[in-house]
């Protein structure tokens, strides 16, 4: 039977490192994805992800379970992302390779996906990364947490420390900016309909 996060946390606090490793296994990918989408650099996202778990591990004895473990972890990761952006004093960097490496493309191709589809998907990813990087931090964070992590509006409000209505406004404004930017790039249609 799969243990809940809270059970694993309780066992980790009592010194069971395997339980904490289980938590890492469970949350590594979402935290990395959050960091990557927020700061846009693979290397730094890895550092943020690692630092998030290190901080969580150190602070685990002080975790009283007022919030969900995942929310607590997201908060640590978001704070680290904010620190990173303040330190770098710039918008997230979008790493877009100049030329697509055919070998890399071939390695990433799904069995049912043609090279053309893959290239279209890559192009779309680049466009999304570029337009997301242009968004203000608050709007980007709201979109990332809602779209990719499925948090409720209330959870986002608690995480970022703002009223519920502000979260919705940020989301609306962010999506509107994205719409405008994507229309400029001609990418507002869903991926399946893209050339």
């Amino acid at each position: 039977m799969t243990s809940t996060d809270e059970e694993l946390v309780a066992r980790s606090v009592s010194g069971d490192t395997e339980s904490f490793n289980e938590l890492i296994l469970r949350w590594e990918r979402p935290i990395y994805a959050l960091a990557y989408r927020t700061i846009g650099r693979e290397e730094d996202a890895r550092d943020v992800c690692q630092e998030t778990f290190l901080r969580a591990f150190r602070a685990l004895p002080g975790f009283r379970g007022q919030a969900k473990f995942s929310s607590w972890l997201y908060r640590i990761a978001l704070n680290l992302c904010r620190d990173w952006m303040r330190r770098e004093r710039r918008a997230p960097i979008v790493q877009v390779p100049e030329d697509s490496d055919p070998m890399e493309l071939a390695a990433a191709v799904e069995p049912s996906e043609s090279i053309e589809d893959l290239v279209a998907r890559r192009d779309l990813t680049r466009i999304v990364e570029r337009v997301m990087a242009r968004l203000p931090e608050e709007q980007r964070t709201a979109i990332v947490l809602k779209e990719y992590h499925g948090l409720t509006f209330q959870e986002i409000a608690d995480l970022v420390g703002c009223p519920l209505s502000t979260v919705k406004t940020r989301l609306y404004q962010g999506l509107t900016v994205l719409r405008r930017e994507l229309e400029k790039d001609g990418a507002t249609r869903p991926p399946s309909q893209l050339p």
Partner: protein, 258 residues
């Protein structure tokens, strides 16, 4: 005049759109908003556009978190130190396990050879002796003299054989050391050869897989090109036919003129 001014929705329109997009409206609110959408082209267009944006966003997947955390032996990731590992540690981690094992075996073997370790089990129990300890010659002689005559003969034969096997004067510990080192080196070489063979087999398998993939992709591309060429040929043929018919009709008309 903005789009919002054209819309007559009374409550907070932006929030309502967001709630609707993310399915966060109560049933009654949802019905009310859908009723509004049915009559308001501005809101309908906006909801459609933002739905499209969401669909585009869904195609954005981050790269895999490679080496974000170190994976342990049980399949689970483990925390690694935040400070960078020393270069030597990092290098050592990059060396394959089999090489590390081979080197360890080699070191132990050379050490044992250098020590000229001898393990024997006799009437006086287990004894371990190394080449660093000098052999107790007087004690051995005393024991020989006290033994039976056949034992004396045996000892003499052993000495003679030893003398024949060592025509040149060499240090006492050198021969066993060389022999044991050679054995270890042979074992390590055998391990290396096995490992190389295994790697070559794996490489061959992977190359085979890649070639298969390339072949499959090539066939798919060729059939796609073939289909495209067929379509182009068809349309070109149709066009040629059409033009020929036009020319014919023109020729007929021209010929019918007085």
């Amino acid at each position: 005049m903005t789009k919002k001014e054209l819309c007559a929705y009374t409550t907070n329109r932006d929030e309502a759109i967001i709630d609707y997009l993310y399915g966060d409206l109560e049933r009654a609110e949802r019905t009310a908003f859908e009723t509004h959408l049915a009559t308001c082209s501005v809101c309908r267009a906006e909801v459609d556009a933002l739905t499209g944006v969401r669909q585009v966003l869904s195609g954005w997947s981050p790269p895999e978190p490679i080496r974000a955390l170190e994976h342990g032996t049980h399949g689970g990731p483990r925390l690694v130190a935040s400070s960078p590992a020393p270069a030597s540690t990092a290098r050592a981690r990059d060396i394959p396990v089999w090489v590390r094992v081979a080197v360890a075996v080699l070191c132990v073997g050379i050490g044992l050879g250098a020590a000229n370790l001898r393990v024997s089990y006799g009437s006086d129990g287990l004894s371990v002796r190394t080449g660093w300890l000098p052999e107790s010659a007087p004690a051995a002689a005393a024991s020989v003299s006290a033994a039976q005559p056949w034992q004396e003969e045996l000892a003499a034969l052993e000495q003679r054989l030893r003398a024949e096997m060592r025509p040149t004067p060499v240090p006492a510990a050198a021969a066993p050391q060389d022999a044991s080192s050679e054995v270890v080196v042979r074992q390590v070489r055998a391990m290396l050869a096995q490992s190389e063979q295994r790697q070559q087999r794996e490489l061959a398998l992977r190359i085979g897989d890649v070639l298969n993939d390339v072949q499959v992709q090539r066939r798919a591309d060729l059939s796609k090109i073939d289909r495209s060429i067929g379509l182009i040929q068809n349309s070109t043929g149709m066009e040629v036919l059409r033009q020929r018919e036009m020319l014919n009709s023109l020729a007929v008309r021209v010929s019918q003129r007085p």
